[in-house]
Symmetry: C2
Subunit: 208 residues, 2 copies
């Protein structure tokens, strides 16, 4: 399989979110122009993005919405269910556990963990918070595909190391640091403070 | 002023989040090695990142934490208060209005807007939701620096166009689309579904 650029995957994800809206509205087809507007690409780029994974549009007619949605689900690996562990039962863990897009995309919370004895045993959106000491044993018994790291930054790298050793191959990191992981481990980052500071930096430059 | 790469700004933001933790722990200095671990950079890269904005570390001693925090606040444009309007009083607007890092970074919510008459007039974290029809008049009376777009995707580009025409120069976009804006407008994106799909895509590649 050839390498696929992360920018391509991000566009495919935007296309999918659009096609799903189109389907909900009951429309049968979607054009490469409409997809391009959504993903920030030219129609030619859209056709290239999609043809990379096999041909399934018709010139002048567009893409059948249902088929395109199904193919994008395939391409993005969303067909199967994904077992997810959350490490850190704070504000981020709670938000994610109740995020509606989570279950809808086939993500299943296998366990929520925290190092704080005060939090262990409490219930979070129907899941009893477990001690992070049990992470390795639980993952050995039932592997997870994805781990969400919502710990304080000071603990996040150690947690990531433990998760990777336990076989987790994809991390969604909310802690404010850049995780160091082996090349075969995928990391996505969500950091609201950072996104805001990219904006304030830009604003301060314009003011000089 | 020379151009500063977005990757540099992201590292500076991670350095700042780290220095603030160090300060809370009562430590007086921080080394370029520690900063580098946090920002995913070598000590040499850290020194380069910071020297770009003037020299303020001492070889062998490290950076004084309080001074470095103050300088990073300056560099990232966090010294002054930023007026922020939220457009879209849904789940995202609510989450952001109650996000503790928001007020702490000097962001002040100037108004929350929604197009849905059901939501207009309700109170969200102490702010009465206003009709988005009033956006232009309100921004003419009291300009805002930053707008947060938390509308459905189908409305987001039009909202962005209106905000830009009304003088807003920085957008934090939560809607699942790539906004088209003039070059002088800064955009940051937060899209949880997209970050998750980057991971599931990677997982599906390894399985072949």
């Amino acid at each position: 399989m050839r390498q696929v650029a992360s920018s391509t995957i991000r566009r495919l994800s935007l296309y999918l979110q659009f096609v799903e809206e189109v389907e909900r509205e009951g429309k049968a087809t979607v054009s490469s122009r409409e997809l391009g507007e959504r993903g920030g690409a030219t129609p030619a780029q859209v056709r290239k993005d999609l043809s990379f994974f096999g041909s399934f549009g018709k010139r002048g007619i567009g893409y059948p919405a249902a088929l395109l949605a199904a193919r994008l689900h395939d391409i993005l690996g969303l067909r199967r269910r994904h077992r997810v562990v959350l490490v850190g039962a704070g504000r981020i863990g709670s938000a994610l556990a109740s995020y509606p897009g989570f279950a809808a995309r086939g993500f299943e919370i296998a366990g929520i963990y925290d190092a704080d004895p005060e939090k262990v045993g409490r219930s979070l959106d129907g899941h009893v918070v477990r001690s992070s000491d049990r992470l390795e044993a639980d993952l050995a018994a039932q592997p997870a595909d994805i781990a969400v790291i919502g710990t304080p930054a000071v603990a996040a790298q150690e947690v990531a190391d433990r998760l990777v050793r336990a076989g987790v191959r994809a991390l969604l990191n909310f802690a404010p640091l850049k995780l160091v992981v082996p090349a075969e481990v995928a990391v996505s980052n969500v950091n609201m403070a950072l996104e805001l500071e990219v904006l304030t930096f830009a604003l301060s430059r314009w003011r000089g």
